[in-house]
Amino acid sequence: MRKNLLQLIRYRGLISSLVARELKARYRGSVLGFLWSFINPLLLLSIYTFVFTVVLPNRNPIAQPYAVFMFCGILPWNWFSSSLMEASGSLVSGGNLIKKVLFPAEVLPIVSVLANMVHFFLGLLILAGFLIGYRHWPDPAGLVWFPVVVLVQLVLTTALALFLSALTVHYRDIRDLLSNLLMFWFFATPIIYPWQDENVLRYKSLFDLNPFTHLAVSYQEILFFDGPVGHAKWLLALGAVSVVLFLAAYWFFDRLRDSFAEAV
């Protein structure tokens, strides 16, 4: 396992060119091309903003301006959920690579996660535009934590992606299960409602069990709320758990590796 992990570093050239290919291929042949990376989140944002400011107005004064608040949580969530969806199918759809070419299988789910990370970064540009538009300046001291939270999310997402991709090879219905689970997970995470809401705090211990709560709250504290990043402790703890999860997932992946070429 250690040898394979080290090999992964050797494959960084392959990973980066596959990520580039993924991004290029996604929008090749569409008129707006790369602009879709911006349009998708913008459309999503306007729908949510309409629903939660006009139809079901969210009156919690903490979460104002609401559009900016919500965007802070939705962007990382999109990265997370589309990474897992794509990664879970990545080994099956990349089957001919695994079967016919000497190819480190873990590259495929990792590429899914990284390609979506690039989309996340592009989305951040829009978020920056909103922050400027609303003249809502994040605390520069808090911004130091931003790379940390991204890194923690990257490790956590990669861990889950490895685990799911390996399992999907053997259980094809994971993808269907996963899309439902992610929907539920989205609403169970304080993304479209602030976690300081008293109704949320009543179930705080339950929310604390949800790893993405800590990521979403961290993003909100860093980018949206004033004051120090009070969630840093939780974030670091989650980081430690994610590393352990990653090693466990990698071990699991490694154990099943030899079955991929035969089962996909």
Binding site: G13, S17, N96, L97, K99, V101, D173, L256, A261
Partner: protein, 454 residues
């Protein structure tokens, strides 16, 4: 470093079938609490059993064998795509596998980008691909299309590009799996030239193919795999001969089984019901007729009819040493032996035989009546043998009619197209009949002298 490029010792590969079905679903696994069980293999299938071979550096090594004999598995093991269940695989040097050409091409992006990504996948660095890019494109003959998305390529262009990338990885060991059929004639020649060039450079080539001619022409050594076991190994000619002999044998067994089945089918049929009233029909002996209406052997029904007063209990095709056989070589002797049982003594009987090729053309037919043999008496058990000194037929599948009937055509026992045999020939000549022949030329006509291995 050892002098062997590839070394397999005692390698077995057992494929696992998970849970005996195609895909498990998580739902059923959860319901039956069998998650762990499903991840454990239940059935196994041995693809290779205790195979050992070593390929010295710089030679071209051919692997032959029937479909499913483990050739491709062996190649995948050498390529490192799968791991052996037991035994060791050692490969010295960089390996490039021409197994699936263009695996990993992405249809949406251009040929140029795909060349880079494919090259990196095969183990080159970006700079190395850039250095070879021109050469790759030239080889693939795709200069004007290289910036078009790969999805617009024809399948030939796709394969050519895949081949070009794989072969320019500059491997020490090149694995080739049945990919020479990728291009038109010209491209195939180019590939063969490239192989020859790699050979001259001292690269090792492992070639898996069904084309025995290729093995004979190109390989220094060969290995024959059958059912996952190494059957013969060494000089290509010898290995190919052994392989061909075995193919013949299994063909023989297949024909024997098919014949037995056909005979059993019609025999049980006619035993159950009355025989068709064919007796009234021809005044001439039936077997001697060239069958005019019969356009195609496969339209003709196999069958058996007759009164069975005299019964043909067995038909055997015998080779030159008197053994039953179903495969003959053109020019070999063949004997057809009928075993008969006359339930009542008979004084009016004719033995006949005719021979049809796959198009239903009667190649030859004769009987004892047309050959002016006057029947006197037949009783009890009897044997009748027709010996053909030299079976001068071209290669193909043939069927036999055999019959015993009266002089005016009333059938005792008529076996229609029940017996099948194959004729093999080294020469792919055409037609039906292959007369003994030789060519002679005046001194002004000269041919290049042929090597012994034609």
């Amino acid at each position: 470093m050892s002098s062997h490029a590839i070394e397999l010792s005692g390698v077995s590969k057992i494929y696992r079938r998970y849970g005996g079905r195609q895909f498990a679903t998580l739902k059923s696994a959860l319901l039956q609490r069998s998650i762990l069980r499903d991840l454990r293999p239940e059935e196994t299938f041995p693809a290779l059993t205790d195979v050992s071979f070593a390929v010295p550096k710089g030679i071209t090594f051919g692997v032959i064998g029937r479909n499913g004999s483990g050739k491709s598995t062996a190649l995948k093991l050498v390529a490192g795509i799968t791991k052996p269940t037991s035994g060791t695989v050692v490969v010295n040097g960089r390996v490039s596998a021409l197994i699936e050409l263009g695996a990993g091409f992405h249809p949406e992006i251009s040929g140029r980008e795909n060349v880079f990504i494919n090259g990196i996948m095969l183990g080159l660095s970006k700079r190395e691909v850039a250095a070879r890019f021109g050469e790759i494109v030239d080889f693939a003959e795709l200069k004007e299309f290289i910036d078009a998305p790969v999805k617009t390529y024809s399948s030939g262009m796709y394969m050519r590009l895949g081949f070009a990338v794989a072969i320019h990885v500059n491997p020490d060991v090149l694995l080739v799996d049945e990919v020479l059929a990728v291009g038109d004639e010209g491209f195939t020649h180019k590939c063969l030239d490239k192989f020859a060039e790699l050979r001259r450079l001292g690269k090792t080539i492992l070639l898996v193919t069904h084309s025995l001619g290729l093995v004979e022409r190109f390989c220094d050594q060969a290995l024959w795999l059958d059912h996952g076991r190494a059957q013969a190994q060494g000089d290509p000619r010898r290995v190919i001969d052994a392989y061909l002999a075995s193919v013949e044998k299994s063909e023989d067994a297949q024909l024997a089984a098919a014949t037995a089945k056909a005979v059993a089918a019609v025999s049980s049929e006619s035993a159950a019901g009355p025989t068709p009233p064919l007796a009234a029909e021809p005044a001439r002996p039936a077997t001697a007729q060239p069958d005019g209406e019969l356009k195609n052997m496969f339209e003709a029904v196999e069958g058996r009819w007759g009164s069975r007063e005299i019964e043909i209990t067995d038909v055997a095709l015998l080779d030159k040493s008197g053994h039953r056989s179903f495969v003959f070589h053109s020019g070999d002797p063949m004997a057809v032996r009928l075993t008969l049982m006359a339930h009542t003594p008979a004084t009016d009987f004719v033995f006949g035989l005719s021979l049809f090729n796959a198009d239903g053309v009667c190649c030859y037919g004769t009987n004892t009546f047309i050959e002016e043999m006057d029947p006197e008496r037949l009783e009890g058990q009897a044997e009748v043998t027709l010996s053909i000194e030299s079976l001068d037929l071209v290669e193909g599948t043939y069927k036999l009619d055999v019959a015993v009937h009266t002089c005016d055509g009333y059938p005792y026992d008529y076996h229609r197209l029940l017996y099948t045999f194959r004729v093999k020939s080294r020469t792919p000549d055409v037609g039906i009949y292959r007369p003994h022949h030789r060519w002679s030329f005046s001194p002004s006509v000269r041919f290049k002298s042929k090597p012994e291995t034609a």
